[in-house]
Symmetry: C2
Subunit: 382 residues, 2 copies
Amino acid sequence: MQNFTFYNPVKIIFGRDTVSKIGREAAKAGKKALLVYGGGSVKRNGVYETVTGSLSKNGITFIEHSGVKPNPVLTHTREGIKKARENNCDVIIAAGGGSVIDESKAIAAGVKYRGDVWDFFTGKAAIKDAVALFTVLTIPATGSEMNSGCVVTNEETKQKYNAGSQLLFPRISILDPETTMSLPQAQTANGAVDALAHVIEGYFTTKDPDVIMTDELVHAIARSVITCTDRILADPEDYGARASMMWSATLALNGLQALGYGGGSFINHAIEHSLSALYDIAHGAGLAIVMPAWFKYHLKTDGPGRLIKFGNAVFGVKSAEETIDAFENWFKKIGAPVRLPEVKIPAADIPKITENALGLINRWEIAGYDRKTVEGILRTAA
Amino acid sequence: MQNFTFYNPVKIIFGRDTVSKIGREAAKAGKKALLVYGGGSVKRNGVYETVTGSLSKNGITFIEHSGVKPNPVLTHTREGIKKARENNCDVIIAAGGGSVIDESKAIAAGVKYRGDVWDFFTGKAAIKDAVALFTVLTIPATGSEMNSGCVVTNEETKQKYNAGSQLLFPRISILDPETTMSLPQAQTANGAVDALAHVIEGYFTTKDPDVIMTDELVHAIARSVITCTDRILADPEDYGARASMMWSATLALNGLQALGYGGGSFINHAIEHSLSALYDIAHGAGLAIVMPAWFKYHLKTDGPGRLIKFGNAVFGVKSAEETIDAFENWFKKIGAPVRLPEVKIPAADIPKITENALGLINRWEIAGYDRKTVEGILRTAA
């Protein structure tokens, strides 16, 4: 077990009928909110009405910033910053999934910075201040509701990059599983793949194989994600499954899932970010394509040990090959794509995707992945 | 899954050679420390020297408050409060196990209160302020390093009661597994039993049987505790096992282990507190005696469902009876007592113990445990 530091001060309010608490909580931090949301699903599922009602009831006026894309983009983030500044917003309310929360984090930091918010993503500037952020989560997937990072895509340069700071931890995140009942099956599946991807990155790239407790935690989260997703696909209104799925996805990237691994690397995410940056596919869909291909590469280079351990604990299988098959079969079962053609990405584009991915691999300082290696992984997924 | 709120802002600094960070961290909160420790093991294992050196190096002067008992007592707590006041201490450093941390929490709250600190334990007063607390943990067991509760025994009234407040969360807890290498086998075993007891209370008294994620987490922690303890007893200097054991015990009572269970109850702790209050036995030893007896009672009243689920996931057994046997056999294997005579408590004292336990059962509002029931559980352990 490698040394680590863990700190996560996000307060989680979880359960039925909790969305209406947002106003009272946010009122402790500010009086003028920027209300950030996406394409309008929050209007259809009642979250918008509950949130705005609660804000008003608690004396918070708000300006709306809607239209956040599934892969949030820089231009829209800049618009949000402008709007928040012009209206002197002293609190940001994110109502939606991880994309809405991520863009809200970027806005929270950008408002307090004189330069361009993209500087935080390229590493040109560090985040030194941020507006208080409160979230109402409606899609279990990214874990953004309980961590301090965010990902935004620069449409111009086609870079899907990340930024982070302890200042970006939401003050409070409200998780009401009932808000997820109306999610389309594809979003449920993509969220499940994303949560699984979050726990496997550190697990399979650990610098230390002897991390009993965190290995057990990773297995626990993975098993829960799989059990819950299977139940949800059988019955979308299964509250118990929706609830544990929501909490599992949060635990999958709140920091606990990688403690003792000595950092690990996010190589699957580095490659996937290029797919969603270049083709605007769902992040979870991209991960379902990249992961099996990467597992095959991992098996060749690092051996079967971790794959056997994971497969045994999570899928009840005995070999590394069976573990990879189990992943791929489960992705297929829940309707996630597992090959590039399924999302209409031609094999001919692999060099271009690789070029893009190398940018993030360099930025994240992931060793051992040169052009040939990344191309090889992508060809396995072709 | 029942509604819940989760908040835990403790910063954990974990790993080798981390104890020396205490001074720099504590200097952010104060300049004059009350240094709390126990019977002197911190002097033998080098922790005392490292802590005091680090405090001095960072310009923190300190007053010592040593001699905390394994079951910390009220009179000594009051002395600590007096000492901290007289010396205008603005920060408290706890160096030791859960008892040292618990007494330090009580002192931290007591210093800021005009009345008697015991008022917090009887419910006569609520904690409204506290001195900043930093801990250096040396025994994996109680989880106090990452929660906001504390337990102190009033020697006069023989009440082992608890108090708590968000103000009692340590600011920072330092966990260096190497400090646990020299623990006597009995303390390793007692700590393991305590950690297991923390995860089973909520699990077996849940108001909702459908809490997939937390059930998985409980299984994960329990498996880790058992694996680590077995490895430590085979080789006390097994760093990987010491490290995961330390982190497992912290996770076993930082709040995550009970989310969604709707509160649950701490009935095993309620009964055990009477054993250690009346006979000053180790808390873990008392729990190893109470738990199997309580499981037998639980099986009769609540049925085999949870016992089968737990036993299957943790011990690989199939029936409730086998699960109870597996617990009891494992306790015996690690050298923990499983019957009252083993710690020299006579069966004739059962009415007296029951009387004491009912005080805590009433205070904690645990339903379903009258005099006859508690006596019955204790007789099963006789």
